[in-house]
Symmetry: C2
Subunit: 121 residues, 2 copies
């Protein structure tokens, strides 16, 4: 993968936020720096960055979101404010359970807890 200015900016933008942005939001931000960038370029680069392991793609219902946080982690999704919060939850138990009970070889764990975050006591 050779250098491109567009990819550099896209990567920086994803790394600049904890908001798990959508492709469309990233597109809007990149245009502040590269006004005539095309949406296809944004998608292509988000995919390439994902393939290279530089960012992660997560799915929130039907839309893709992008996450700079590559370390294994889970998400809390607040139904009230829509925010998605990174958390690290223990999953050794889950892995062991499915290995023992279903003979299933786990390569990836995806946990999302939906509910109400602490901003809405």
């Amino acid at each position: 993968m050779r250098y491109s200015h567009q990819r550099e900016i896209i990567s920086e933008i994803v790394h600049s936020t904890n908001s798990h942005p959508t492709a469309d939001w990233v597109y809007g931000e990149v245009r502040r720096y590269i006004p005539n960038i095309s949406l296809g370029t944004v998608y292509r680069n988000l995919k390439q960055l994902t393939d290279e392991g530089i960012i992660r793609t997560i799915y929130d219902g039907a839309v893709a979101r992008y996450d700079w946080n590559r370390s294994p982690h889970d998400h809390l999704k607040c139904n009230v404010c829509g925010e998605m919060i990174d958390v690290q939850l223990p999953n050794d138990g889950l892995r062991r359970t499915v290995k023992d009970e279903y003979d299933f070889e786990v390569s990836d764990v995806e946990i999302t807890l939906v509910g109400k975050c602490n901003k809405h006591a």
Copy 2:
């Protein structure tokens, strides 16, 4: 919600499989019984059945899948054969952890373990 033949058949089809079918697959099946049913009718009814709690909608990446199994459960997704297997995993620990550590009020737990199922030793 008043009776309709179309909804009846759609519901039966979703209940007849463990394959977590997509709307498109359901559409193909329903047409064996109602050849001129429209895709919009399938989507509308799948949504209504979901709203009524008769079936569940789950997301597999970007596509919606439908599941007759309403009891709380999780999924094992096999990367080799693509199958999605229903399992019941304990999640009391997870709930307690986020309650205690993040003051997050959980209403729903979504767990998908990705890997290799026991058909591919």
